[in-house]
């Protein structure tokens, strides 16, 4: 199972293993990662599961859809390069060893 490290809004790190096929949002909820609220449970409708992936991982992931991109313009923490909705990223080999930042709200 892929290993993922979440960097929390306060800067602390939280490591966990993730089952293939889940979304990163579901992994975050299972591990009670602070800052991932996921009001709409993965429908890309609420913009409350915002993460920032690093430069190495970003181009490996499936591209951002128009809908996800629109939502990312309205997240509580401002959009950054590498911003994604964690509900739109499935766990597979690509995210093994990844460091995923949970951005702090301003």
């Amino acid at each position: 199972m892929p290993n993922i490290t979440f960097i929390l809004p306060d800067g602390k790190e939280q490591g966990c293993t993730a089952r293939d096929g889940l979304s990163l949002m579901e992994v975050a909820l299972q591990n009670a990662v602070p800052g991932i609220i996921a009001e709409c449970n993965g429908s890309a409708a609420c913009a409350t599961c915002h993460i920032v992936v690093d430069d190495a991982l970003a181009p490996m992931l499936d591209p951002i859809s128009e809908h996800e991109s629109d939502m990312l313009d309205f997240t509580a923490a401002p959009r950054a390069p590498g911003s994604r909705l964690s509900c739109q990223i499935k766990v597979d080999g690509r995210v093994d060893g990844a460091t995923i930042r949970i951005p702090a709200e301003v």
């Binding site: 009001e39 709409c40 409708a45 609420c46 309205f74």
Partner: protein, 402 residues
């Protein structure tokens, strides 16, 4: 967590609350919700002949398990009144239709397209009464604003707000017509026909002129709606898209007028308006309850449920769950920030959320307080708040300086 934790080995029958009348529920459901929350995960309310879930964590768990707690219900009155709407579908069937309406309702569409149009409607509505010095904000502001906004966003070309309000109420009444009252059925059928005819009149325009409206999005989507899907889903939007902004406008105004200290702080820091809006729909959730159908025998949070059972997910109760919200009955813009269930959760998360947030929390209520000087309640005793499946102020008499 979630369903795994909620489904336990021990079980008991569903307890019943039988000493509360329907009228009492409508006047003030919160004491009954509190009793239900403390009694069990699922409680039957005898007066309404319905089982309800009232705890925040339980409803979240149910919303994360659509296989067990399904939106599909072939017998539902909603389907009878409105047709096969996406609100009563799950999984891929729901997702396909939802995707076709999304472009019209995204936050980006709200900002670039709807914000200026809503502002023009608001200015026009305000011009009708702002020099009067007194008004019932239900009839002068909230109902026309919500009705005209909905017609605009849906893409109706020629429907006034009074007709929108009539159709909306008739469809809602029809969807809740459990006693098969023939007059209610007749009015619902008439409203359904009216909506279909309004759609028929508008479709040619939207075909020729692609735009941001819901109707246009439905027909120009990669996977476009059929005419029956358009009819059904627009009816759902008419039934479920008018009360909520209307009621939340009034609830937010009421919450702030009853708490002048909070009003002053919000006026001093406009960034707090969106927070105040979220608190208003937590405090009095416009949609208090919606149904799910149990698909298999299951012990849920200690209560035995059977396949075919209907459970009302009482988000109006969950949003006052004291285990999540401290002093939950109090309107408090400054409470610890936590997500609520006023827009639902899961795949059916309110599609109009972003329009509502903008219209109510950034436009109508902030501007109202700007434009009406020294706005205050005429008399708190004259304010009426009603309902439990749908709940909101039904009259809000105010005065201001002119």
């Amino acid at each position: 967590m979630g369903v795994q934790a909620a489904i336990e080995e021990t079980s008991s029958a569903v307890p019943v609350i039988s000493d509360v009348t329907f009228a009492e529920l409508s006047i003030d459901p919160y004491p009954t919700f509190k009793r239900a929350r403390e009694l069990a995960a699922i409680v039957r309310i005898a007066a309404a002949n319905i089982m309800i879930a009232t705890r925040y964590e339980d409803i979240m768990a149910m919303e994360r398990d659509a296989e067990t707690f399904s939106s599909v219900n072939p017998q539902s009155l909603v389907n009878k009144v409105m047709g096969h709407t996406m609100m009563r579908k799950d999984g891929e069937a729901h997702a396909r239709e939802r995707k076709a309406v999304e472009p019209a309702l995204r936050p980006g569409a709200v900002k670039s397209c709807w914000a200026p149009k809503l502002e023009a409607i608001f200015d026009d509505v305000m011009a009708g009464f702002e020099t009067n010095g007194e008004a019932d904000l239900f009839t002068t502001l909230a109902a026309p604003m919500a009705g005209r906004a909905l017609a605009e966003v849906l893409g109706f070309l020629d429907v006034d707000w009074q007709t929108m309000a009539l159709w909306s109420q008739s469809l809602i009444d029809g969807a809740g017509n459990y006693s098969s009252d023939s007059e209610i059925s007749r009015k619902a059928a008439e409203a359904a026909r009216g909506v279909e005819q309004a759609i028929d009149r508008a479709l040619a325009y939207h075909r020729e002129n692609p735009n941001m409206s819901v109707l246009s999005s439905m027909i120009h989507a990669d996977d476009p709606h059929t005419l029956d899907q358009i009819y059904a889903n627009i009816k759902v939007a008419v039934g479920g898209g008018l009360n909520e902004p209307r009621d939340s406008i009034l609830t937010l105004v009421l919450g702030l007028l009853e708490n002048p200290d909070q009003l002053e702080r919000v006026k001093a820091d406009p960034n707090l308006w969106p927070v105040a809006f979220e608190e208003s729909v937590r405090w009095i959730s416009p949609i208090g309850m919606y149904p799910r159908r149990v698909t298999r025998d299951v012990i849920f949070s200690g209560v035995q449920l059977r396949a075919g059972d209907q459970v009302g997910l009482c988000v109006g109760a969950a949003n006052r769950d004291a285990s999540r919200f401290q002093d939950p009955d109090r309107f408090d813009v400054f409470r610890e920030k936590k997500s609520h269930l006023a827009f639902g959760a899961g795949p059916h998360f309110c599609a109009g959320t972003w329009v509502a947030r903008h219209m109510v929390g950034r436009l109508v209520v902030p501007r109202l307080f700007e434009r009406l000087k020294n706005l205050r309640l005429r008399d708190r005793a004259d304010v009426r708040i009603q309902g439990w499946v749908f709940r909101g102020p039904t009259t809000l008499p105010v005065v201001w300086d002119v």
